[in-house]
């Protein structure tokens, strides 16, 4: 291998090293430290002026105490489980909403497709925070949705949606919908329509042709979209803190409280490392799936 090629391959690895492994190493080190009233608020910090003695003392002071602590209070496991549940349900809901949209886009006339694509991407031009704030105006007790329903006489008392898990699901599905639509649309658009014609020629109904041919062929898009929704939804902090009430327990909120209310950076770091481990498993599964697809394509 020549030098130029090595350099070219080295750049993405250097990127990964600088922006992922080094920060991960720092967080991992803090998670093994102890809380202290100082700047920064943990101990030990590496003191090179004492030479080897300092470095040995530094490593001797690191321990797994914070991870043991996380197993002792059920708050953390409940928060992880509750986040997993919210992430799984909202991924499923996003799929239910996103698939028909992607299907409709792929079946529309080719000259319409860029326009429809644009409409899916358009909301990204507004700040994410402002779009979530807009939902407060829609969902609150005096909000547009309740006013509309009261006006039509469907309900007589305002529905309490704001500050409930329902509002969190609505927020997540709305925010991450484009991440579900785009990969599914990409696979459906590439699909060969002659397969469906052949199925119908052979006496297959339109519905069963969808189940037997279209759905399996769009599997890679469904999986990619689901991961793109599931992974950020798991650690989501902004949506539950703005739309969810104080009874919506999510790991992002617990992390915030460890960091800001308890000022305990070491425990906060330990919570973050565990969250990362929970995320790494689906990411590895995703990677495996991609590799398999590439082999199948090749």
């Amino acid at each position: 291998m020549n030098l130029a090629r090595r350099t070219l391959i080295g750049i993405p690895y250097l990127w990964l090293l600088l922006l992922f492994l080094v920060p991960f190493g720092i967080i991992f080190k803090i998670s093994l430290s102890d809380y202290a009233v100082s700047i920064p608020p943990y101990t030990p910090t590496l003191d090179l002026s004492e030479g080897w003695q300092g470095i040995r003392g530094f490593f001797a002071a690191l321990d797994w105490e914070n991870y043991v602590f996380l197993t002792e209070d059920d708050l953390y496991w409940r928060a992880y489980l509750s986040s997993l549940k919210i992430a799984v349900i909202s991924t499923f809901l996003t799929l239910l909403v996103g698939y028909p949209i992607a299907y409709g886009m792929a079946k529309s006339a080719p000259e319409w497709r860029p326009m429809l694509m644009m409409l899916v991407i358009l909301p990204f031009w507004t700040s994410f925070l402002i779009r979530v704030y807009a939902w407060i105006g829609i969902l609150s007790n005096e909000g547009y949705l309740n006013q509309l329903l009261l006006w039509t006489g469907i309900i007589s008392d305002p529905l309490q949606i704001m500050n409930t898990p329902t509002a969190v699901y609505i927020g997540i599905v709305y925010t991450y919908l484009p991440f579900m639509i785009l990969p599914i649309y990409a696979t459906l658009e590439r699909m060969d329509d002659s397969l469906l014609e052949a199925a119908e020629d052979l006496g297959c109904s339109r519905l069963s042709a969808f189940w037997i041919i279209t759905l399996p062929l769009s599997r890679s898009g469904i999986i990619a979209g689901s991961f793109l929704v599931f992974i950020p939804a798991l650690g989501e902090f902004v949506i539950p803190s703005l739309l969810g009430g104080s009874s919506t327990l999510m790991i992002g909120k617990v992390l915030w409280e460890e960091f800001f209310s308890n000022r305990d950076w070491p425990v906060a770091s330990a919570v973050a490392i565990i969250l990362l481990l929970i995320l790494v498993i689906p990411i590895i599964l995703f990677q495996k799936n991609q590799e398999k697809n590439q082999e199948a394509d090749a």
Binding site: L75, G245, S261, R263
Partner: protein, 361 residues
């Protein structure tokens, strides 16, 4: 003509140069100053002022403890100041650069000295109490004419709260305010650091939890003013802002602030200079400017908070100095209490208990 343009350009670039070198960066609470004062400071001292705002002590503390915030003056509340001094976050003040320090009020300085012995690191900016914001009309309608609007009975007695739930009650999302208040209600020491005593606050708060619409530390200002809620536990000046907004709106909502008769928590927002401030001389100039009697009075007249500056009192308008909701009378003052910061172990218990109270887990 061309000469003048040239001179102007030269003068302009000189100002730009000196401004870049002589910036003072201040990090204060939101809605907490008369902005005319900021322009006045730039004019009088020639420093360029960069004025940023925050809305929670936790946010400020995290930036202080991370170090390198780049600010010259920050404004933590007393208990937070004390812990940050312990962490070595602030530099001692040079009182030779603060000739206006003679204007400060010894009564307040005695109290702030418990957070910062000898007032070596900080000066008081504003102070106030934590109490009850009440929509008197609605509350009397529901609880009757003798509703206990100036007592913790209003918010900690489940019978009252059950009836008030229909018109809406907000609590502060701040365990360091709510737990001392609950302990005061049951006659315990609000400043107790004993885990067994602190635990006594939990059943008090859990009993009224179902009737609390939301835990939030700033939304209650608007909610009270609009008439969306009828009771909030909140900070004095914020409730008075709600009162002023309701008056402006002319919507028939009348808000009152009451420091509870059982005792109100008193707090102090303190101006201090971070240990790594880029411009300590400019920071001292800002503190000295703020301690000027007329400037401090202008700030209080604008935000409706009491200040720790005795000389400023002659310049205060009567709506501020004569209002016992801003400057409490001696009876209320005698019943106020202050708290000290929890250590890490107790803080964790308190945060955990607060999560349990709010979420039921």
């Amino acid at each position: 003509m061309s000469n003048r343009v040239l001179m102007l350009a030269a003068a302009g670039s000189m100002i730009a140069l000196s401004a870049a070198a002589e910036e003072v960066r201040v990090y204060n609470w939101s809605d907490y100053i008369d902005e005319a004062l900021l322009a006045q400071f730039e004019e009088e001292t020639g420093y360029e002022l960069v004025y940023d705002v925050f809305d929670s002590n936790e946010l400020l503390e995290t930036r202080m403890l991370a170090g390198g915030s780049g600010y010259d003056v920050v404004v933590p509340t007393g208990t937070f100041l004390q812990r940050q001094i312990q962490a070595g976050a602030f530099q001692p003040l040079d009182y030779d650069l603060l000739p206006n320090a003679g204007n400060m009020w010894d009564v307040i300085m005695d109290r702030t000295a418990q957070y910062d012995p000898g007032n070596e690191h900080a000066i008081n900016y504003m102070w106030g109490t934590t109490g009850l914001g009440v929509n008197v009309g609605r509350v009397r309608e529901i609880l009757g004419e003798d509703a206990p609007v100036n007592s913790l009975e209003l918010v900690f007695n489940p019978e009252n709260m059950e009836r008030l739930a229909e018109c809406g009650v907000y609590f502060l999302d701040a365990p360091t305010e709510m737990i001392p208040a609950a302990l005061t209600y049951i006659g315990e020491d609000p400043d107790s650091h004993d885990p067994d005593v602190i635990a006594l606050a939990e059943p008090v708060l859990t009993a009224v939890r179902p009737y609390v619409q939301n835990f939030h530390s700033s939304e209650y200002i608007n909610a009270l003013a609009n008439g969306d809620i009828c009771v909030a536990i909140g900070w004095s000046g914020d409730v008075l802002q709600a009162r002023a907004r309701a008056e402006e709106a002319g919507n028939g909502v009348v808000i009152e602030y009451h420091a509870p008769v059982e005792g109100a928590q008193m707090w102090f927002d303190m101006m201090a200079i971070p240990v790594d401030a880029p411009n300590p001389a400019g920071a001292h100039a800002f503190l000295n400017f703020i301690m000027d009697a007329e400037n401090m009075a202008a700030a209080s007249n604008y935000v409706f908070f009491a200040n720790g500056n005795l000389a400023s009192q002659e310049f205060l308008v009567s709506e501020v100095i004569d209002d016992t909701a801003v400057y409490p009378d001696e009876v209320t003052m005698a019943a106020t209490y202050t708290t000290r910061p929890y250590d890490a172990r107790v803080q964790r218990l308190v945060t955990r208990m607060w999560t349990r109270i709010k979420s039921g887990t």
